[in-house]
């Protein structure tokens, strides 16, 4: 009986890791698609600012979005795509 419960627990555990894998897979997919158009992960930026520069102001998502857009396309000679 106890053994069975152990099995059951294992199955739940496996399903949970499966689920976290799918969730993190989807998260990476979203991240990947945004980065394809030059938009890095906002939460990574916020975490970085909190850790590395707690004294400095953090851009809001909107500011971050505009800043990145300007950086990618703003005609600073960067070649962001190919023939």
């Amino acid at each position: 009986m106890i053994e069975r419960e152990g099995d059951f627990g294992k199955i739940i555990e496996e399903e949970r890791t499966m689920l976290t894998r799918i969730v993190s897979g989807l998260r990476y997919l979203g991240q990947g698609m945004r980065l394809m158009v030059g938009m890095p992960e906002y939460s990574t930026y916020v975490t970085h600012m909190h850790h590395a520069h707690p004294d400095r102001p953090v851009m809001s998502y909107e500011e971050f979005f505009r800043e990145r857009q300007e950086a990618r396309y703003g005609g600073n000679g960067k070649v962001t795509r190919c023939c």
Binding site: V37, M39, R81
Partner: protein
């Protein structure tokens, strides 16, 4: 035991690849399924990746997983961000994949599918992917600096300037040839023109939406844009059926040229969020989606290859472009095998986001294999079209005439069975008035894709939809490239001119901006116009020039890689980049030489100029000129093109000289002289995590 099984596995894999190759190469007479090409490709790429790229990673470059990367060193959460390698792979692939690998193999298919396939496979494994990988490695070890900077610091100030100068001209030729492809695809096609024109208001709406209505909602706005795009394709059919509307959107090549030039100018001075960024979202996602669905389509239906493995045109007499297999096949295939442009991407945003040096192999080498796979798909799409129809679509009117009857007659004489009905039926299937002389590659790819995709989804009735979907997808990312390329070209020009006229360097000055933009647009516009009025279709002139310029840049990048290997004291492995460099140099210089001096006026610019000069002295007028004045213009164009080819040769030869000088100096010294960022360890917690 384990290693034995593993070895056995690789042996079986190699055998499968060899078998698929034998089927593809040795089969005569019967049509074979495209699946064999895919199997051969997958086997070659897997073996190349597993063994050759591993050799480069461990022996040649000595990738060090504990070494600091720019992403951690300069981490700012913006440009420098340590990024998951699969996510970064997507970013890098999206940046390197463009129209080049799709169009090149389609044009090269006139010699049969086998030469292009062999060069794509051999070229990417031994040259193209090697270049991308090593440039990425070099830049990653130098704080993610750009190609121009890398050349300046490793080879000297002057070679750096020369490389930048060369890059600017590549940009002009590239934009001209891309724009030419769009013009050729949309001329006299109200459905296509309407759909592509509709992308402008759609993008404007998306731009405003993503800035003011729902700021930063990229996914949402792209989805809305996608739905609107599909509606515009459906709407295009109605436009075509309503005569007054159809007349409005039926434009000649010359009209489209002027519209594109005007568009290029306006679009590149508008704020980026309004038009460029939203269209970039659409074109990027559409590109990835289309490429993936094409690959799935090919796998599901394994279409028959109707093009012969080799055609008689390997001798250089082909109608699509002229010149013999060596060197012009290698120039024409271009991007899918090795693309110099990638060295700009590999030293652009990607090295700033690499989490661990070790990932450079997967991202640099792997993404290029993927790009080559896309080129193979394009080759398959072109080869599944009936060869007679392929030649009707890709031969200029000067050779096959303008009617289905004349085209069918000429092409049948070449030995490809085709009837006028087959040509007109193809046009009807895809919802166009005509497919004759739709040169430039895009319409051919669209017909091939429409056949494959309609087999998977929708059947015959959906063919016209898929055709215009494919045209839209190509036009969309070409227009994005024209816009972004003009901006990049403007900046390069301001940078270059700024060395002589300080005022021009001021990127905040509107006057300086407008001057540089005008020069850029006039530059590519000139080549575009010249290509559009050329009776041989323009592609015959511009694609080789583009191929030469692109391979020239690859040559420059490979010289840099070789120099760095010598400076790292890895002399015994320098052949890894020297051998592909030699091949690229030989092809590029031979092709440029023949484009200038060949006695055949279809190949040599000077011979073409002489033909017109003789006609002028005799007082006759040759097409496309309608007067002696226009004859003079044709002669002038020939001289410009010849000078450009000569300029590319000069750039390449001078870079070779600088490269040899750098290598000799490095060899004379006993210690490594590569100017890498000083060695630092990755933070401990990072090393244990990855």
């Amino acid at each position: 035991m384990n290693t034995f099984i593993r070895k056995l596995g690789w042996f079986a894999f190699a055998a499968a690849g060899a078998f698929a190759f034998a089927v593809v190469a040795l089969n005569r007479g019967e049509a074979i399924g495209a699946l064999w090409i895919v199997i051969a490709t997958v086997c070659v790429f897997t073996i190349g990746y597993r063994f050759y790229s591993r050799f480069i990673a461990s022996k040649v470059l000595g990738l060090n997983p504990t070494r600091m990367t720019p992403a951690y060193k300069h981490n700012d959460g913006l440009d420098y961000v340590p990024t998951n390698k699969y996510v970064l792979f997507g970013h890098h692939f999206a940046a390197i994949a463009g129209a080049g690998p799709l169009v090149g193999p389609i044009l090269a298919a006139q010699m049969g599918y086998l030469p292009s396939m062999l060069w794509l496979l051999a070229g990417v494994v031994l040259a193209g992917a090697v270049q991308d990988f090593i440039v990425l490695f070099i830049s990653t070890r130098r704080d993610g600096r750009s190609l121009g900077d890398l050349i300046k610091s490793e080879m000297g100030q002057l070679p750096g300037m020369i490389a930048l100068f060369g890059t600017f001209f590549i940009m002009l030729v590239l934009l001209a040839v891309l724009a030419l492809i769009v013009v050729k695809a949309l001329a006299e096609s109200p459905w296509g023109t309407f759909t592509v024109a509709a992308t402008i208001p759609i993008a404007l709406f998306m731009g405003i939406y993503a800035r003011y209505i729902r700021p930063g909602s990229i996914g949402e706005v792209s989805l809305i844009g996608f739905v609107l795009l599909i509606l515009s394709i459906v709407g295009g059919q109605y436009v075509q059926e309503i005569p007054p509307l159809a007349a409005l959107f039926t434009l000649t090549g010359e009209q489209l040229t002027w519209l594109l030039i005007g568009y290029g100018f306006i679009a590149s001075v508008m704020p980026v969020w309004l038009l460029l960024a939203p269209r970039d979202y659409l074109s990027t996602f559409l590109k990835i989606g289309t490429v993936v669905s094409l690959a799935i389509g090919v796998l599901i239906i394994s279409p028959e290859l109707k093009m012969p493995a080799l055609t008689q045109f390997v001798d250089g007499s082909g109608p699509v472009w002229s010149g013999s297999l060596f060197p012009f096949l290698f120039i024409t295939v271009a991007c899918g095998a090795i693309s110099g442009f990638h060295s700009l991407i590999s030293s652009g945003t990607t090295p700033k986001m690499i989490r661990n040096e070790r990932d450079a192999r997967f991202i640099g080498y792997g993404a290029m294999l993927m790009e080559s796979f896309v080129a193979i798909m394009a080759l398959v799409a072109a080869s599944t079209i009936e060869p007679g129809v392929y030649f009707a679509m890709n031969s200029p009117a000067a050779i096959i005439g303008t009617t289905a009857e004349s085209a069918a007659q000429t092409i049948s004489q070449w030995g490809f069975h085709v009837t006028p009905e087959m040509i007109t039926q193809t046009a009807r299937d895809v919802g166009e008035h005509t497919v004759i002389s739709r040169t430039g590659g895009a319409p051919t790819l669209a017909v091939g894709m429409a056949q494959i995709l309609s087999d998977v989804l929708g059947g015959q009735a959906m063919m016209a939809f898929w055709y215009h979907f494919a045209i839209l997808f190509e036009a969309l990312f070409i227009l994005t490239a024209v816009d972004a390329g003009t901006r990049a070209g403007r900046f390069m020009l301001q940078d270059l001119l700024g060395s002589f006229i300080p005022f021009m360097k001021r990127t905040d000055s509107i006057t300086a901006n407008l001057i540089a933009t005008s020069v850029c647009v006039a530059g590519w516009g000139y080549f575009l116009y010249q290509g559009v009025v050329d009776p041989l279709g323009g592609i015959n002139t511009l694609w080789p020039l583009f191929g030469i310029s692109n391979q020239m840049l690859a040559g420059i990048a490979l010289v840099l890689c070789s120099c760095v290997l010598f400076k790292m004291k890895q002399d015994r492995f320098a052949w890894v980049t020297i051998l592909p460099a030699i091949w690229v140099f030989v092809c590029t210089l031979t092709a440029a030489w023949q484009k200038i001096f060949d006695a055949n006026p279809r190949i040599g610019f000077l011979a073409h100029a002489n033909k017109y000069k003789e006609a002028v002295t005799e007082g006759t007028v040759l097409a496309p000129a309608k007067s002696i004045g226009q004859m003079q213009q044709v002669i002038f164009n020939d001289y410009i093109n010849a000078s450009l080819a000569a300029l590319f040769m000069l750039v390449l030869i001078s870079m070779l000289a600088f490269g040899i000088r750098t290598a000799l100096r490095a060899r004379a010294l006993g210690t490594p002289t590569a100017r890498e960022a000083p060695f630092e360890l990755l933070p401990v917690e990072v090393v244990s995590r990855t």
